[in-house]
Chain length 140, copies 2
DNA sequence: CGGTATCCTTGGAGATACTG
DNA sequence: CAGTATCTCCAAGGATACCG
């Protein structure tokens, strides 16, 4: 039909992307996606959310053990951040020794869904990407 | 039925998460999700992918103009990374002045879908998160 | 136009030690 | 157990200048 590849791309999708990237409220200069990425586009946030989804209501040290490679400090920092963003609740049980449980909120669980899509994509295409990388490095 | 909240969470979902987080090939110690996040969990990768999805086959400076706040250096670095991962193609048109076009590969487009879910989540819940943050900062 | 090269700063993040 | 505090270091990334 003489349409270019770009035109072939569903208009609907372009509209969606445009909406995602739109700066909301030009007066504030606030951009939702920038704001989001500044806070969540970190390895640890994503991993902690996934592990919280897996574990249910883990304690601090349970999380620390399961999230491979995370330091005590980064786990604490990440959890505080998620908590203040309303994604995670922190429940202190007044016992000795102290017991603290973390759990995803409804908001957190909705983000978990998205993180899972991301994780599934990563698993599905891991080899493909690795292959591309090796090819690219050979060309250097 | 006397099931706890944790048990209430679909078993299917837990299985999925476990699979995502599984270390593949214990001999290599290779974990797909870690590997993925190390490369893609950056603001610029995600934004560039979205803008590529929006624009189709933009030129370098078109991208630079549309991706708010990105420096020339980071755009170049990000594009080279995406290219070596097989997500983006780079087409040089031998003209004067030179013209270079970037475009998502099929693999890149499949990641775009995931990035869009992420972006839509960010838009949908931006206010909610902002509110939670304000509340948290008031408690300090 | 479409980049590299270089310098330089900042903050992300590990290691270690201490505490309610 | 579940953190905080402090020090430190490295690399992500901005600014600037130059090149094919």
């Amino acid at each position: 039909m003489g349409v270019t590849i770009a035109e072939n791309q569903p208009v609907e999708r372009r509209k969606k992307i445009a909406k995602i990237l739109a700066e909301k409220g030009t007066n504030t200069g606030f951009c939702a996606i920038h704001n989001f990425l500044d806070h969540f586009a970190t390895k640890w946030s994503m991993l902690v959310i996934l592990h919280l989804g897996l574990a249910g209501k883990p304690r601090f040290n349970e999380l620390k053990m399961s999230v491979t490679g995370i330091s005590q400090r980064m786990l604490a920092v990440t959890l505080r951040s998620l908590e203040s963003d309303g994604l995670v609740t922190r429940t202190i049980h007044p016992e000795i020794p102290p017991r603290v449980e973390y759990e995803l909120t409804a908001l957190g669980r909705s983000l978990l869904d998205v993180m899972m899509s991301l994780g599934e994509w990563a698993n599905r295409h891991a080899e493909e990407i690795l292959k591309a990388r090796k090819k690219a490095s050979r060309l250097n």
